[in-house]
């Protein structure tokens, strides 16, 4: 039937004839040698399978290690994200402290500004009622640290900011226990401390280091009513031993900007 097909018959015949050429003897022997080599290696299959299994096991071990590493990175990232602004007293507060330490360690960082920022965050936490005692202690620590690195120029806005924060902190500390947060109606900024605050604007004169001659130890800006001075609360440039509190800088202003 196909032989009668005028179109297909010549093609099929040519195709068949072309395909039935015998293999070249050399190629044929190569194929036989390759096959027998495979047979020979198959007899050593037990060792080969053992090696294969071993390689597979190593691969699985590598996968486990990679998965473990990726998982650890993911957990670390999650912990860092959750603890980025964890308030004082919380389980992940250490992450926040570590993050702040890193920020402070960056060369060229604005240390005073950063300490003030951290203090303000803690004050905000306290106002929000998040473990007020711990948050206020945190804020106190940051404000003390900030004061040590404030610029000698008392006209710097950082001094103003520090004074405001001190005033807010004083207000919060004076609040009755259990009322860690500011009343809801109070503006969040707290830039106008209440008259009851120990660090009222009238007190600001005492909170700024005096540069005028004759200043005595009672002008120590770290002194707070009813608060014991902390070891770190003394100004970095002078003693609180009743001596001259003049900052080392010759250009130190003679009054705090709060005096204005």
């Amino acid at each position: 039937m196909i032989a009668d097909d005028e179109l297909l018959a010549p093609y099929l015949a040519a195709w068949r004839e072309d395909s039935l050429y015998p293999s070249l003897p050399h190629s044929r022997e190569l194929a036989r040698t390759a096959m027998l080599a495979a047979v020979a290696s198959g007899r050593r299959g037990l060792l080969g399978r053992a090696l294969w299994f071993s390689a597979g096991f190593r691969l699985r071990g590598l996968r486990v290690r990679i998965a473990g590493f990726v998982g650890a990175v993911a957990v670390a990232a999650a912990v860092a994200a959750m603890g980025w602004n964890a308030p004082a007293g919380s389980f992940l507060h250490g992450v926040r402290v570590a993050r702040q330490s890193v920020q402070l360690a960056v060369p060229g960082a604005d240390l005073a500004g950063l300490h003030l920022e951290f203090a303000e965050q803690s004050l905000a936490d306290a106002r929000d009622g998040i473990d007020p005692a711990a948050s206020l202690a945190d804020a106190r620590s940051e404000l003390d640290a900030a004061r040590e690195v404030l610029p000698a120029d008392h006209s710097s806005p950082l001094w103003t900011r520090w004074g405001d924060d001190e005033a807010i902190l004083g207000t919060e500390e004076a609040a009755p226990a259990g009322q860690g947060g500011r009343p809801a109606g109070d503006p969040a900024g707290g830039s106008a401390p209440s008259a009851a605050a120990p660090h009222s604007p009238s007190d600001d004169e005492a909170t700024v280091p005096r540069t005028a001659a004759g200043g005595d130890g009672s002008a120590d800006p770290t002194e707070r009513p009813g608060a014991a001075p902390s070891p770190s609360s003394s100004p970095s440039w002078g003693g609180n031993d009743g001596g001259d509190n003049t900052p080392p800088s010759a250009s130190a202003p003679t009054s705090s900007p709060h005096d204005n």
Partner: protein, 192 residues
């Protein structure tokens, strides 16, 4: 007369020998593999050459087929000749597909290196037709190609193709019919 081995005896002896060879091959005996190679190398080579056209490609695929067979002899059901042939051609078919996939659709090449016939012009014309045929086959479905190679190159009957491919005779006949019809549409009319 009774002492002379008849055709049936010869086939029986061959069958027994092949079955024993398969058993030996299963045990990893090189002599068993040698028997299988001698018996089926030509079929495998023809199948590969019919599908691929290039001599070197066909040699490569033939070699790959027998090497792969060593690793998969546990899949061989029994030592009957049609079964062994079907098993090897099945491996070869997959090797052909892999080979074609690796090389992509090759440019049409006509290997005239074995043209040793008296009339080189006729040989060249036959080669070109064979190349046209393979090019046309590349437009068919894989199953149709497989059936046509078995039927028209390896000269297998419809029943043999059905047994070798695991299909019914009717299905094989249908595939052949559709494959040939497609070839008629694709192939150019032969000159004169």
């Amino acid at each position: 007369m009774g002492d002379e081995p008849g055709e049936g005896d010869h086939i029986y002896q061959q069958s027994v020998r092949l079955t024993e060879a398969v058993d030996a091959a299963r045990r990893g005996d090189a002599r068993g593999w040698d028997v299988l190679f001698e018996r089926f190398h030509a079929d495998v080579h023809a199948y590969a050459l019919a599908r691929l056209g290039g001599w070197s490609d066909a040699e490569d695929v033939t070699q790959e087929t027998f090497v792969a067979a060593v690793g998969s002899i546990r899949n061989l059901r029994d030592g009957q000749e049609p079964v062994v042939q079907a098993w090897l051609l099945h491996i070869c078919r997959h090797k052909v597909i892999d080979h074609a996939r690796r090389k992509g659709r090759q440019q049409r090449t006509v290997d005239l290196g074995v043209a040793a016939a008296p009339d080189p012009a006729n040989v060249a014309e036959a080669k070109l037709r064979a190349a046209d045929m393979r090019e046309a086959l590349s437009h068919l479905k894989e199953d149709q190609r497989d059936v046509l190679v078995r039927r028209f190159v390896l000269d297998q009957s419809l029943e043999e193709v059905a047994a070798g491919t695991g299909r019914s005779v009717g299905a094989v006949k249908s595939m052949q019919h559709r494959g040939l019809a497609a070839l008629r549409r694709i192939l150019p009319a032969a000159p004169g």
